[in-house]
């Protein structure tokens, strides 16, 4: 639990700026949700048995979680590691780079979870998530957060400068959002693309969250959970490996 000191440090900073932080994290997804949800939704019949806005709210829950976890672990992590050298100062204490990586990933996942949970709360207020099953989306959101935080932290400890992240954002995250069923059912896309989406973590997050929002238990729960867990665990191991290389070599 040594990593908790790092989690706590980030939490204390976040608490100072909590309103700005929550607003900036939520503004984008909520504008998109209500804009597209009501605007586009009016043109569409129900999608997979749900109103389009409820369908899209489930996708937004996942994509907002993904974006928060990724931004926090990449941009904020890099600022702490590289810009303000906070990691260096933490290493003077009886803590290791492994503790820092763990603390940063769990922190980014926690912040991502809060984004997902807030989207869920907004959706519930608007009557888009009425079933008690939606409670189960909360642990799923944390797992999605862990998976993307771990991968984001690999990017962080590999980065030489800020530009490095734009490759990951533009070439990986944006297309992943398009093909993982956030905006429309993933099987609308050509079969190879649909198959490719299934090796990516976001797809599995959406496959778990959407049925729960609709009030049903998802199919193939274990497979979806397993993919997310593998991304989180492998990402964590790789992030630690590269962090050690960066700091102790």
């Amino acid at each position: 639990m040594r990593w908790f000191a790092i989690w706590r440090r980030n939490f204390l900073v976040w608490r100072k700026l909590v309103i700005a932080s929550v607003l900036t994290n939520l503004a984008d997804p909520l504008i998109l949700l209500f804009g597209l949800g009501y605007g586009l939704g009016a043109l569409l019949p129900s999608v997979e048995g749900m109103s389009y806005i409820a369908f899209f709210a489930a996708g937004t829950l996942c994509s907002a979680t993904m974006f928060t976890a990724s931004f926090e672990s990449m941009f904020s992590g890099f600022a702490r590691m590289h810009g303000q050298k906070t990691w260096d100062s933490i290493l003077y204490a009886p803590l290791t780079i492994d503790d820092i990586v763990t603390g940063e990933i769990v922190w980014a996942a926690s912040k991502a979870w809060l984004s997902g949970a807030t989207i869920l709360a907004v959706a519930a207020v608007f009557g888009l998530a009425a079933s008690p099953l939606v409670i189960l989306t909360l642990p799923v959101a944390f797992l999605v957060g862990l998976a993307f935080a771990a991968v984001g932290l690999i990017m962080c400890v590999l980065a030489k400068n800020w530009d490095f992240f734009s490759f990951y954002m533009t070439l990986i995250m944006t297309p992943m959002t398009m093909i993982s069923g956030v905006f429309f059912p993933a099987d609308q896309l050509p079969r190879p693309v649909h198959l490719f989406a299934q090796v990516l973590p976001l797809y599995h997050g959406v496959e778990l969250v959407r049925p729960l929002v609709a009030g049903r238990l998802p199919d193939h729960v274990l497979i979806h959970l397993a993919v997310l867990l593998v991304y989180a665990a492998a990402g964590y191991a790789i992030a630690i490996m590269y962090a050690r290389r960066r700091f102790t070599a």
Binding site: R9, V13, K85, S89, Y92, A93, P94, L95, T248, A249
Partner: protein, 302 residues
């Protein structure tokens, strides 16, 4: 009994061996200085001793713990003041100390009890709520020193503790460091400020290109490596005079427009200078800087 022992330490970055077979011993309660020109391997040596960087070869024992294997345990009783301030800009002065104390798993009440004394020591009492970016360079360095003391360390590592500070700020830091050695703490500092080394350090190691080239107390090093008198001469005709000087003194060196005469006896040199009214001279006792320049050369190190 040593608090820090390093044997045959080696570290390579690419083609460049930054530390090449270094031995160090630091005794409890002493202020030990690591001197060397830029790029001599001082900072890397400190990082190796702290277990932050892993050596390619060699052994390190820090407060009885093998490093890097048990460096984390050793760091419980160690403080670090880095060359470049890395105070947490997201927190105030007081919060910096509170948060840092928690990295040592100290209970919140214990950290909180220590903060007023540390701020007093750092001359920052009354600035608890100041933001880091409003502090001067000297204040930041003092806060960094206070932060390094939060765990009441036995041994404190300092990487160029006064680089970039004005004389007032520097003297205050020196006074605080002397206070710490009087309290029985062991200090290891790197510097290329010779006055600092001469004033503070009980023992010094001069390193260059990753190797130890001399070690001892400042007085021992001066006595062993250099003639006791130095006469610096410049002015019209200094080049011609330089040839005469070679007969009068043990060693004569030229750096730009100045001749440095190193002599066992200053009288013959000074007597001869009376016959050359165009020359301007300064007679002074030999200092650590003369030793340093003799051993590491006058070439620029960038």
């Amino acid at each position: 009994m040593t608090v820090l022992k390093a044997r045959a330490l080696r570290k390579r970055y690419g083609a460049l061996e930054v530390v090449s077979g270094l031995d160090l011993d630091v005794a409890p309660g002493e202020c030990f200085g690591l001197l060397g020109p830029n790029g001599a391997g001082k900072t890397t040596t400190l990082r190796l001793c702290l277990g932050l960087t892993h050596p390619d070869a060699g052994e390190i024992e820090l407060l009885g713990e093998p490093v890097p294997r048990r460096a984390r345990e050793a760091r419980r009783r160690i403080g670090v003041v880095p060359q470049f301030d890395n105070l947490d800009p997201d927190f105030t002065v007081e919060e910096n100390l509170l948060v840092f104390g928690r990295y040592f798993s100290m209970p919140a009440s214990e950290v909180r009890a220590k903060v007023p004394g540390l701020l007093e020591f750092a001359g920052l009492a009354g600035r608890e709520d100041a933001r880091i970016n409003t502090l001067s360079g000297g204040m930041k360095r003092r806060l960094t020193l206070a932060r390094a003391l939060i765990n009441d360390p036995q041994l404190i590592f300092m990487d160029e503790p006064t680089t970039g500070l004005d004389p007032q700020a520097r003297h205050l830091i020196w006074e605080r460091l002397r206070q710490l050695t009087q309290e029985g703490k062991t200090l290891v500092l790197t510097t290329h400020h010779m006055e600092e080394a001469e004033r503070l350090c009980h023992r010094l190691a001069i390193i260059d290109r990753g190797r130890l080239i001399a070690a001892g107390s400042p007085r021992e090093l001066i006595a062993k490596h250099i003639e006791p008198h130095v006469v610096e001469v410049h002015g019209n005709g200094f080049e011609a005079w330089m040839e005469r000087a070679r007969a009068l003194a043990a060693r004569v060196e030229r750096a730009g427009d100045t001749v440095f005469v190193y002599a066992t006896e200053a009288a013959p040199v000074l007597a001869d200078l009376q016959n050359h009214p165009d020359l301007i001279y300064l007679h002074r006792p030999a200092s650590l800087e003369d030793v340093f320049l003799k051993l590491t050369g006058r070439d620029l190190r960038d």
